[in-house]
Symmetry: C2
Subunit: 140 residues, 2 copies
DNA sequence: CGGCATCCGTGACGATACTG
DNA sequence: CAGTATCGTCACGGATGCCG
């Protein structure tokens, strides 16, 4: 396995800092890594896709437009490892595996959803801002 | 300029879809790009750093541990272009440039903060889950 | 101080093929 | 169906140097 999302190699994990040691601003804080799993390109979409339903691998793949098999697999593993996603595998043939959110995953996804909703709602503003910015540069 | 965050090259922007056309799930939706600016590794941290204060470039750089000059510059440009960050440049010598959140940027950052707070709070759970996951693989 | 341009390595990512 | 293994690319991102 030459390519892994992140094994337990967090160097600064055991530095035993103060109680608020999980501040994302420091380079080696594990919360930074988790935050990146959650907010990573595929992390966001995967969690959001699981917000309402329990889904199987390929259903998820269809839902998250553009994700490759590999990246979905990787993303799911990272999220499962962080305890945000639960993997239910039934050893039947053909294999039947379902993914769903854990309680913590649900909480996280709720906040994510709040963010996404805002961004989607305000896209007209964003697009307008982009237009202004580009014009101020392109035209002079 | 061979390396650019993203110019106006969004291919699916003008497809004139339905009102809810800003669904992040479709590959070519501009909201997906904006979401990635916001939730990108440096986007999150930059916005969060600006949550409370107006900051100058190098102050920001010190605050966001590990960011390179180049990435901070790129990130700020993307966020400014999307209308989330406002750049105040005073043409004095030495140059004095300040960055602050726009109203939309503030709204966005508030939601981001809610997410970050949750993740930081729950890091013990995450770490425990990781421990269980790793053990179930390494040992069993 | 606040940038921008250039060079360049690394690894994230996608496509494909294979397994159970 | 649900993945894992392998390989190639390319653009993300760091280091450096220059300019206003």
């Amino acid at each position: 396995m030459s390519e892994v999302v992140e094994q337990s190699a967090e160097p600064g994990t055991e530095r035993g800092g103060p109680p608020d040691a999980f501040d994302v601003f420091s380079r080696n804080c594990p919360s930074r890594a988790t935050l990146e799993h959650v907010t990573g390109r595929w992390g966001i979409l995967t969690l959001t896709a699981l917000a309402h339903d329990t889904l199987r691998f390929n259903a998820l793949r269809r839902r998250v437009d553009g994700v490759s098999e590999k990246m979905l697999s990787q993303t799911l593993q990272a999220l499962e490892r962080d305890g945000l996603v639960i993997r239910d595998a039934q050893p039947v043939n053909p294999p039947h595996v379902e993914y769903r959110l854990s309680p913590l995953g649900r909480e996280t996804t709720d906040r994510l959803l709040a963010l996404i909703t805002l961004v989607e709602d305000r896209m007209p503003d964003v697009l307008a801002a982009r237009g202004r910015y580009d014009e101020a540069r392109g035209t002079g």
